[in-house]
Symmetry: D2
Subunit: 104 residues, 4 copies
């Protein structure tokens, strides 16, 4: 996935719709959590087992919600001055330190 | 960003900690929205303007929260059988149809 | 507001629809955050000022989302064994200690 | 629970800390969803069964999060011009129409 290219497309998309004044990191964070909750809604009444055996239509719906959250994350990073790939590597390193592997 | 490679690293990370039983899409969706809200928390008392002029420490913090949400999204997609890149392209197409550009 | 009476009504409502198997605290918490995000959605593209001057239709909509979140909170407390009024008083006391008043 | 009295106490509390400029419905909605997600966090790795058998410490923690969400709801209603009790009765009526009881 080419993050910089997607961010450019999202900027262009917003510009063509004159959405720039709305695109503050604060507003984008709100929109992102709304989409995150729509993803949660898919699973709210499902059992653990049902959530592991999604039918085709639900998988398509899930893909839409994942995309919605991801696209807002890319915009938050773009407007907030965050390098996503560097942030991901850094976080993976922090997690490895915080949670040592279980010895067997 | 190599999504498939990141998903493999996240699977290995979970396996080494014996987290597999917890990694249902339902649980991962809950964890994802918790991280999404931690990202929102950064901006809750900031004005729109302040959210557009983050200092270095806040930008680092924001990067961590973006990474947390993204890493859970990758795991939800992996365990839920979603191809993220295809879902993103599909969603961008849907958005282009739903929101026509403003003519000038 | 009579909390115990509302909780009884909500239990009866769920029983009449055979929803009891779904009413775990885990599921109710997910449903609650979904409604919380629907409330956030009302404000996501509004300025601070606009959020302080809602029109009648938006105020009605806001009331519905507030009620949705509140009704799930009552059910979580009921099924989770929490006395809401005691919890509120305890939390107000904790907040008073955590945030001392500003002297003038 | 005396909602109007609690709302007055919360207004006084905020005034004594000079928090009024931050108390827009938009900001309060963000703070509310953050607390809602902290409640979700309690249950994220628990099974359905575990969520139904909380120990004393978890029940206390749950009470704190319920109170946090509720206190923000009261403030959103207060600052947004919503009568909570009327909204709850209205919503209960809407739900009764939307979801007819199951006949046996």
């Amino acid at each position: 996935m080419n993050i910089a290219e997607l961010q450019t497309r999202l900027r262009d998309f917003a510009a063509q719709r004159q959405w720039e004044p709305y695109q503050t990191p604060k507003n984008l964070a709100m929109a992102m959590v709304v989409e995150a909750a729509e993803l949660v809604e898919i699973f709210q009444w499902k059992t653990a087992e049902e959530s592991q055996a999604l039918d085709e239509a639900t998988r398509t719906h899930l893909g839409e919600e994942i995309a919605d959250v991801l696209l807002y994350l890319l915009q938050i990073a773009d407007h907030g001055g965050v390098d996503i790939e560097a942030a991901v590597e850094r976080k993976l390193g922090m997690n490895a330190q915080k949670y040592p592997p279980v010895s067997r």
